[in-house]
């Protein structure tokens, strides 16, 4: 029983690791014990450009490959950090005006209602709120940079 549950639990964990790291196969041997997991070879979807295309002249590349969620924040990769993502497409500004101090910096504490930046879209300055509580660890967009929907703007260590 316990052993069985342990197996299943372990396999689930391994699968998470495989997914996160895009592994297709894991083999583990502990003396007599042996576990091997194999996932389907990744399809074309989501794989980076093939080397043929990459080496061909004149082939375009995508900008901002960062995976996007909705406005919702989520777990940073294995670091326990939260992400503040752009809810719209536009230009990122860290401060209300060029002369002002940034809304937040690394070390600033934010709560869900804290304005963390402005994103300009169609001449409208949209104040973006943190929607999470914690301490800003890093800003991942540059001042004046174009950001797409779902792009990570800040990482926040939760309280």
């Amino acid at each position: 029983m316990a052993e069985k549950d342990a197996d299943v639990q372990k396999i689930k964990e391994l699968i998470e690791i495989m997914k996160e790291n895009d592994l297709v196969k894991i083999d583990i041997r502990h003396g007599e014990d042996y576990v091997s997991l194999q996932r389907a070879q990744p399809q074309l979807l989501g794989t980076p450009m093939g080397p043929m295309l990459a080496s061909a002249p004149g082939v375009p590349v995508m900008v901002a490959q960062t995976p996007a969620g909705g406005r919702a924040t989520g777990q940073g990769k294995g670091e326990g950090l939260l992400e503040v993502r752009s809810p719209i497409v536009g230009t990122f500004y860290e401060a209300p005006s060029p002369d002002s101090q940034p809304y937040v910096e690394a070390g600033s504490h934010v709560d869900p209602q804290t304005v963390v930046c402005i994103i300009e879209a169609m001449k409208v300055m949209n104040e973006i709120k943190a929607e999470v509580s914690g301490t800003v660890v890093e800003r991942t967009a540059a001042n004046g940079q174009a950001v797409e929907y779902g792009q990570v703007l800040f990482r926040v260590r939760p309280d």
Partner: protein, 445 residues
Amino acid sequence: MLSRILVANRGEIALRIIRACHELGIETVAVYSEADRNAPYLRLADEAICIGPADCDQSYLNIPRIISAAEITNVDAIHPGYGFLAENTNFAEICRDCGIGFIGPTVEAMRLLGDKVEARKIAQKAKVPIVPGSEGVLANEAEAMKIANQIGYPVIIKAVAGGGGRGMRVVHNDVSLRAAFNAAKTEAEAAFGDGSVYLEKFIVEPRHVEVQVIADQEGNALHFFERDCSIQRRHQKMIEESPCPVLLEKDRQRLCEAALRVIKEAKYVNAGTVEFLLDKDNKFYFIEVNTRIQVEHPVTEMVTGHDLIKWQIRIASGEPLGMRQKDITHHGVAIECRINAEDPANNFSPNPGTITEYLAPGGPGVRVDTHAHQGWTVSPHYDSLIAKLIVHQKTRPEAIATMRRALEEFTIGPIKTTIPACLAILSHNLFVKGKIDTGFVERNF
């Protein structure tokens, strides 16, 4: 020439526009919703930008997000494709106000032709026959009945703001008119937020024939002959061909010239389609103008050898047409089948899902326009078109033979598609004889 274009669309038409830009040496910016994040055609654009979640209202139909994407990527112009914002006058106006080119007609022409009552007036000014009917919005049931009796039953009631069959009713006598008038108004109000309806003579078993036109900014307008789009199911086109198999050359001439008169009267610019009904005596009646590129534009490309998307871009760049009507000729016969992710056995309901089997036809005379591939997931969020299969041959029997073998080769699974339905139509005796009209599918299948 424009140097950088944002493609405000998705799927096969986004890919089609990216291809044309690529061949013209124009940079492209693709926009995508989260549902289309993995679409391979995005890699063919010079830049791709996520504009929102799968829901169209927050992505492909969201004007501020698209304009904002255009601004941050510094494009000269936006190509709207078809559907989504392509016929949205408000969007075209905002583009203009923001100093971004809109690859399509002027705001004024869109507004004028988007109103079907106004469009009929334009046609009348251009001395192009229209279907007899009310000269505008019907005030009430009594007026409807009076006009119906003047022009004679059967008549059809249509929504001014309509499309896709909604708000339409065919009536054969005074009794049914009474019920239909109010039903159509209510449906139009619900569907379009505008309950205005008008009334026309109902043409029995008409063909749907449309003329492709392009006009430049200097006022030159040329036609690229006609397409016969009579194979429809519930007003949705399924199969289109060019030329129309029953038109004699002199009738074709008259039809195409009529289309040009409408376009010139409307001071139209860029690509557009003038739609007509063709009755059993080959008399044509103007219906409306589609102020955009159409799904079925490839059949015209195949018979004329002209790339219509490239023309749209050249015209929007300010280039003149630089040729004469006699320079545009048509050769052979082209047919297009729309391959939709729909289940014909289940009343053509959309059939989204992941394609695990995919084999496209090829060889001589075959063109495939698609963004689909093995591993592609057809999203329930968008329309069900997954591929356009186009063939071109010297004669109609040869084109039908090529289309049949191409459809038989085309393997898409496990999702259900319209391939078997198209094959059944292509194999139908009356289709082979060219004896089709807009009611053909509903009567025979």
